[in-house]
């Protein structure tokens, strides 16, 4: 009997116990779990799990792609900077400053080119997980940058759930999410697909009221 750990939220699937919440009987082997089984905590599919106790793969020095995609997206970089500073100003309870940054963001949002599709985003996310996060983790560890390590830890987990949602959508189309509601954690960006947002965010642990529902057809 083995255990498998979810690399997004840390849930462990113990073959001894099965998964009562989804009608999986005790003693069900990992390989006998149906392909559409997902983590009962965060919704990641089987591809996001690792065998517990397996020797952690030594992160090979990854080949970092210098140029991530075709467009340089200069305006979008400015928009992201402005929305980040708008949030920072509102966390300082400075509403006038926040609204000035929001006006700057709107200007740069309007100039941000739309380019790509679900496939290209999936490919970039997989590169992030295989190479860019690994390289950034190594660098941040070398110099002991705790702030960067914190951001990378959350960012990598959220990127994994993003990649997983794209993988499932590209494989099964609408039917993969037709009966789900969709929620985004406003603190870390974790996306939950299911009936109701979790009580606490599986990645950053904020309570349910921090989840925004993304309605269909809105």
């Amino acid at each position: 009997m083995s255990k498998y750990i979810c690399t997004v939220c840390g849930y462990d699937y113990d073959e001894r116990d099965g998964d009562k919440s989804q009608g999986i009987a005790p003693g069900t082997k990992w390989e006998d779990l149906p392909d559409d089984w997902v983590c009962p905590i965060c919704g990641a599919d089987k591809s996001m799990f690792e065998l517990a106790g397996a020797a952690a793969q030594a992160p090979a020095q990854p080949a970092v792609t210098e140029h991530a995609g075709e467009e340089r997206q200069d305006a979008r970089h400015q928009a992201i900077l402005m929305s980040n500073l708008a949030k920072a100003a509102s966390k300082q309870h400075n509403a006038p400053m926040a609204s000035l940054f929001a006006r700057m963001e709107a200007y740069f949002n309007q100039r941000s080119a739309a380019e790509g599709d679900m496939n290209s985003a999936h490919k970039l996310l997989n590169e992030d997980i295989a190479a860019r996060y690994v390289a950034a983790f190594n660098t941040a560890r070398e110099v002991g940058d705790r702030g960067a390590l914190r951001a990378l830890t959350w960012g990598e987990k959220v990127s994994k759930i993003q990649a997983n949602i794209l993988r499932r959508y590209l494989k099964d189309g609408d039917s993969a999410f037709e009966n789900d509601n969709v929620y985004v954690c406003e603190a870390c960006g974790f996306i939950y697909t299911g009936a109701e947002a979790p009580e606490i965010c599986p990645v950053c642990k904020v309570p349910r009221f921090k989840f925004n529902q993304i309605k269909r057809g809105a």
């Binding site: 941000s112 380019e115 860019r132 950034a136 660098t139 110099v143 969709v182």
Partner: protein, 162 residues
């Protein structure tokens, strides 16, 4: 430092009113009057049973220096995130189905949050940081379209440099 109230956590026990020596908390707009709040006092913070009040600095210290190697690694991720967000915008512009549009909107919001976090850790945590101010000055100095909110950029620099 000035006291601020997180109205989401406030349970209207009003002990802040009871302990405040200046009446800064006697307002009816949910906030605390910064002009009456005493710099070194934290009576309301300690008295609040809901932990709804904290003190924020009038002036922030400079951000701790960041190593260029870390910033470069974070920028590589940021560039990738910007391109992912651009892809979601393209999908939102012409979605194949309502489910695809919904997922793309959720992904765009999620990608933006992760991208912002990469910037925060590469020197843009605070609007008051020298890097953030330099970015605003750079925007004012470079060529922009007619509807560039120049007044907003100038007002921000005034606020941040005072």
């Amino acid at each position: 430092m000035k006291a601020v109230r997180n109205i989401r956590l406030c349970t209207k026990d009003c002990l802040c009113l009871f302990v405040c020596p200046t009446g800064a908390t006697n307002t009816d707009d949910g906030q605390i009057d910064a002009s009456k709040c005493l710099d070194a006092c934290r009576a309301c913070v300690d008295a609040c049973p809901s932990g709804a009040i904290s003190k924020v600095p009038f002036n922030f210290p400079p951000q701790q220096p960041k190593q260029e190697a870390v910033c470069a690694a974070l920028r590589a991720l940021l560039a990738s995130k910007a391109n992912q967000e651009a892809a979601m915008d393209a999908v939102i512009g012409s979605p194949a189905s309502p489910v695809e549009a919904q997922l793309a909107r959720a992904l765009k919001e999620s990608i933006r949050i992760v991208a912002e976090d990469m910037l925060r850790e590469s020197g843009y945590m605070l609007p008051q940081s020298e890097q953030a101010r330099a970015a605003l000055r750079g925007m004012l100095e470079s060529e922009q379209d007619a509807d560039f909110p120049k007044d907003a950029a100038e007002e921000l620099l005034r606020m941040l440099e005072s």
